[in-house]
Structures are given as structure tokens and as C-alpha cells.
Symmetry: C2
Subunit: 340 residues, 2 copies
DNA sequence: CTGTTAGCGCGTTCAC
DNA sequence: GTGAACGCGCTAACAG
């Protein structure tokens, strides 16, 4: 049960290890007799030879692995949709994906950096998470990435350093088109369910909503921002007070999908009709959006797309020294049943 | 911008590379003067030395990577919950996770096997998918895994070979406790929404449901199995015909979460009250189960648990030659609002 | 033109 | 505590 090495193939084919390497890698500029080639090929096949990736990596100084790290739970859609995009770009290029931890060790840097230093991965894709943004570690991380010229992309961080690659979501746009969509449906009055996390992302969304109302010439005091996280009941009270007015032109904008579902739940429980009595839109999609009752209209985040894009940017960075890139991807409305 | 090797550390500390290795790895049985040790440690820190994992792997003949492969989409909960369990077990042990493809290449075997042959991964965790079960590739795969003694675990395959590790879900149990739960709530009449995929998993579920009814002494003809995939409308017709009888003792059992949500949607649309008019239970959970209207009761699949378990089994296999293991994990009811 | 020899990359570990 | 061999594949320089 011994491993087959290039030496074994060489012996079997009656040639040297060098020849084996040349043939198997189809090296240009080295001419080898077709029959020798054939011998090597069949020997390799007969022995079921597979070159050791570690030896190759050691020699080539490339592991052909990309690390993906985030503080997010790996079962969040917010993570997996992005991962899927990353995978779809990297796999065809022969890069494998290594799931990395974003925990900071005692040495003062996160595990994925250790992986990079140890050359287990050739580059790093970093996906943001509220905590990681909040704690302002981003500055530190970006500084390291920049100083050591580590091939990497910050995903959804909305970070300002001009020297690191960033692929972000245009939350302003997401909020804007969401509100715009509602305005087209006659909405003049809105309760905005906010996570209260007060991140750039959330602020941008709200700014987008405000802008759309402003451009439509609607009074801005009709937008009520509620910090649902702080006081869950308050959201429900605000919605009910709006409903009590019996106006057909009111709506709920949910900053997070979860809040959208919660709102639907509450409205259903109270017996209101959606979208007749009140319309609902969520500023993020979900694979369950078309399974809710009623099916939830959403301004969808381009998660899969930022995954793809960031992987593409990273590949470009790996192939040649390019200037840092800063990209924002727009959102897209998927109209379903909670809006008119 | 050159890489720091153990040689550099050795020079800096004024010792040999061997000593560096001994000190940094804390090798037992080798006595080294505390002050020498100190010198090496500080030199390593000053130079910011990180051993090359590829060189280590080459030498130790271990990559400290586990491959996870499935035909499933990486953004399915069915995949990610398991992945999370795997991660939670492997990470503390120093194993990284490599996401592998389950696509079969022209050489007649799947990519993850190639990774193993190339020693990029030390072991393989295989997660089933309907297609992979259907096409009966499992036999072929299991044969290879067995013949070459590849450290691996088949997850949720319900495969019969006694020579490969298997960690499965007890679907019979899931169906049984689901039905039992309903029976306790007075249910005597059931429409079972089936995926029609006709896999062992689905058959076992139905068997479990039947068994529970049988043991309760309920008439078995009250269980109507509907292949929702084949004819989506039929499910809705059956449900409506049951509702037309105006009996308070009927229920829907959804084989897939998706069908549960669809049923809720239909019932809500038609204006029925859940659970008063009809009860609903799903034979699989979801992170959205407590966001539906009403919140969906479920007999939950132990996805996170099989992830953990299979990783544990794999680790055991890697550490010592152990006999193949066959494990089935039970399901668990989470009562919510769609049942009385 | 075809194929070989030898050394490299980097950390581990045995024999001294 | 050290020197040297080793694991495995790649590739520059070289020989037939």
C-alpha cells in the first residue's frame, strides 16, 4: 500500500524522473519522442500515479488554495450565497477553497493570516460581519494586508483605505430602489424596521430610502425609523398606529429579512390584509421569500454576485500586480405579493 | 520581501536548523538548554517566522485538511448545517476544511478523490444528494473508498456496505415521532406531501408515519400519500377535500420544509385557520420555521449533529485503524403554532 | 534533438 | 546540540 512517486513511474517507463515531469506537465520547449511520451503516459496510468500537491506547492510556491474567512456563521445565507459565487469562479481556475476562522489568536492576528503566512493559502477573501465592523478591527487588518501586500479582498466592509481591494454592496441603491418601488405603488407613509446596528451599511440604506422620498417630493416626516433590536414592541406599536389610520398608502420597509417575516407574522395575526391594508418590502432577499404568506417582495442584495466579483478581483491580483480596486454592486427588486 | 525560513531563524539564534525545529515543536525526549530555547524563541518572534505548511505536510505526510464534498448546492441549509457541525469538531483539532467538488471527471472518479490521491486532504466527508443516491454511484464510490482504505465517512447515504463509515439520520424515527405528535393532538386523518423521489430516506419516513398510526390503532387508509413533485395541484386538491369534511382531526405532514411552507401559503390564501381547521407539521426544520405564519411545527433533522458525528468518526479513523462505524441519529420535535 | 544529472524548496528527525 | 539525509516534484544546466 505504498504511495506511487514520480520515481516509480520513471522506473516503470524506463526513463528519468525529469522526463516524467516534462511529459506529464506537457512542458513547452522540451521535445520528447512520441513513443517515450507514450511509455510515460501508460506507466503513469498503470501505476495510478498522482503527483503530491504538497511537493508541487513547495516547489511552485503556490498552494492553489484561497482562504475564505468571516465572523459570520457558516450557515447564514449571507455567507453561503457569497461562498457559492466565490466557488463558481475559483473552481474552474483550479483553486480550492479553504474555510478559515476569523478568530484572533494570542499572537495578535487572525487564523486566516496564519494560514497565509504558512503558505497554506495564496490569498484571502474576507467577508464582513457586524461585530468585525463594529470593533474597528478592520483598520488593523487592512493595515496588515496592505503592508505585507497580501493578495486579498474585503467583501462588504465599506472600508475606506484606498490600498486594499474592496467589493461592496450598494446599500444606498438598495434602499433607494426599494422606496422608489413603493412610491410607484402609491405609498406615502413608511415604518422602517431598522436593526439599530448603526453600521455604514444600515445608514446608507436609510439614506437611500430618504433620498427616494425626497426626490418624489414626499414629506420626509412620513418615514418612521424604528430600532427593532432595541425595542421589538415599538415596531409593532408604530405599525399598528399607522394601520389605525386606515390609510391604504402605508408600508413597512424591513431592513433585515427577518424583520420582514416578523412583520408579516404580526399583520397576519392581527388579521390585516397584505398588500391591501399595508404593503411590505424587505431590503434583503432570502430563499424563503417566495414561501412566506404572502410572498415577500424584496430589494435583493447581490450576494452571489459580490462573491463572484471578489473572487475575480483576487485572481487578477494573484496573476499580476494591479492597483487596488473598489467596487460596489447594485441591488435588484423582486416583486412578489406583499406589494401592490 | 523574502520569506523567512528556519535557516534564517537558526542563523539569527546562532544554532542549527535542527535545534530550531526541536524548540519550536517542543519535541519531547530532546533536552535543550533553557537559554538556547529562549534565543530561538525570540529570534523566531523577531523575524516573524512561520513554518511552511507545505514543507511540513510533505515531511509529515499529512495535510491537516479534510475534504467535504457533496452534489448539493453549497447554500442549501441541508449542506451548511452539516458543514457547521463538521467545522466545530475539526477546527479545534487543527484540521482545515477544503470544499470539494463531487463532479466526476473524465478519469472516472470525482474531484475529491483526486484531492485525496494528491494528498491535499487527509480524509473525505461525503454528503449525500438525491441525484448521487439515485444514480447508484454510491456503490462505485464505496468500493473505491473501501479498496484503497481511504479515511472517509458517508453522510446521510443510507448505504449498506459494512466496510465504510456511515452516519445517517433516522428518518423512520423522524416520521414516527412526527405522526405520534399529531396523534396526541387528536389527529386521525393525514395528507402526506411527498417529494416522490422514492429514496430510502423518504420511504423510511413514510414507514415511520404508518407505524405510528398502526400502533395508535388508527385506520391506515386515513393516510393519503401525495407525490407533490409529480402533480403539485393534486396535493392542494386532497387537502381541500379533507377540509371540505369540516373535521377538526385532520393534518398535513410535509416531507420537505418547502412543502410545509407551500401548504401554509395555500391554507392562508383560502382563509383556513391553522391549527384549528387543520394542523401542519414538517418532517424537517429550517431556520425560517419560526418566521412563517403561523410558526411551523417540525420534526427536525439532526443536521448539525450528523456533521459533528461524522467529523468525529473521521478523526477516529485517522488516528487509528478502527472498524467501520454505522450510526443513525434520531430526530426531535419542535412544537410551534401549526399544531394544537 | 532528446533525455539525464543534480540541486532546490523547507522542515523534520536519525545517528552521532 | 549538530550534520546530513529525507520526503517529492520541478527545472536549469548539461551530455549524448
Amino acid at each position: 500500500m505504498k504511495r506511487v512517486s514520480s520515481n516509480d513511474v520513471a522506473k516503470e517507463a524506463g526513463v528519468s524522473r525529469a522526463t516524467v515531469s516534462y511529459v506529464l506537465n506537457n512542458v513547452q520547449g522540451v521535445r520528447i519522442k512520441p513513443e517515450t511520451k507514450e511509455k510515460v503516459l501508460t506507466a503513469a496510468k498503470r501505476l495510478n500515479y498522482h503527483p503530491d500537491s504538497m511537493a508541487v506547492a513547495l516547489k511552485r510556491n503556490r498552494s492553489m488554495c484561497i482562504g475564505v474567512a468571516s465572523r459570520r456563521d457558516i450557515d447564514e445565507e449571507r455567507y453561503t450565497k457569497v461562498l457559492k459565487g466565490i466557488r463558481d469562479v475559483l473552481a474552474p481556475k483550479g483553486y480550492a477553497i479553504l474555510i478559515c476562522s476569523d478568530e484572533w489568536n494570542d499572537k495578535g492576528y487572525p487564523e486566516y493570516l496564519q494560514y497565509y503566512y504558512r503558505k497554506r493559502i495564496d490569498g484571502i477573501l474576507l467577508l464582513s460581519h457586524i461585530e468585525s465592523i463594529r470593533e474597528q478591527e478592520t483598520e488593523k487588518v487592512a493595515a496588515i494586508l496592505r503592508k505585507e501586500k497580501i493578495p486579498s479582498v474585503l467583501i462588504d466592509y465599506h472600508h475606506n483605505s484606498p490600498m486594499v481591494n474592496c467589493v461592496d454592496i450598494n446599500y444606498f441603491h438598495g434602499g433607494y430602489i426599494g422606496a422608489e418601488f413603493l412610491i410607484q405603488k402609491g405609498v406615502t407613509q413608511v415604518v422602517y424596521l431598522d436593526s439599530g446596528t448603526n453600521t455604514i451599511q444600515e445608514k446608507e440604506r436609510i439614506r437611500g430610502v430618504r433620498k427616494a422620498f425626497e426626490e418624489a417630493g414626499r414629506e420626509m416626516d412620513r418615514i418612521t425609523i424604528v430600532d427593532v433590536r432595541e425595542d421589538r414592541e415599538e415596531g409593532s406599536r408604530r405599525i399598528q398606529s399607522i394601520l389605525a389610520e386606515h390609510r391604504p398608502d402605508s408600508a413597512i420597509i424591513a431592513g433585515w429579512v427577518r424583520y420582514g417575516f416578523c412583520a408579516l407574522n404580526m399583520l397576519n395575526t392581527l388579521g390585516y390584509r397584505i398588500p391591501q391594508d399595508i404593503q411590505v418590502i424587505s431590503l434583503a432577499g432570502s430563499s424563503f421569500s417566495d414561501l412566506s404568506y404572502p410572498r415577500l417582495t424584496a430589494s435583493e442584495l447581490p450576494l452571489y454576485e459580490i462573491g463572484k466579483k471578489s473572487a475575480e478581483v483576487l485572481l487578477a491580483t494573484l496573476e499580476e500586480e494591479v492597483l487596488p480596486v473598489r467596487i460596489q454592486l447594485p441591488c435588484r427588486i423582486t416583486a412578489r405579493e406583499t406589494t401592490k
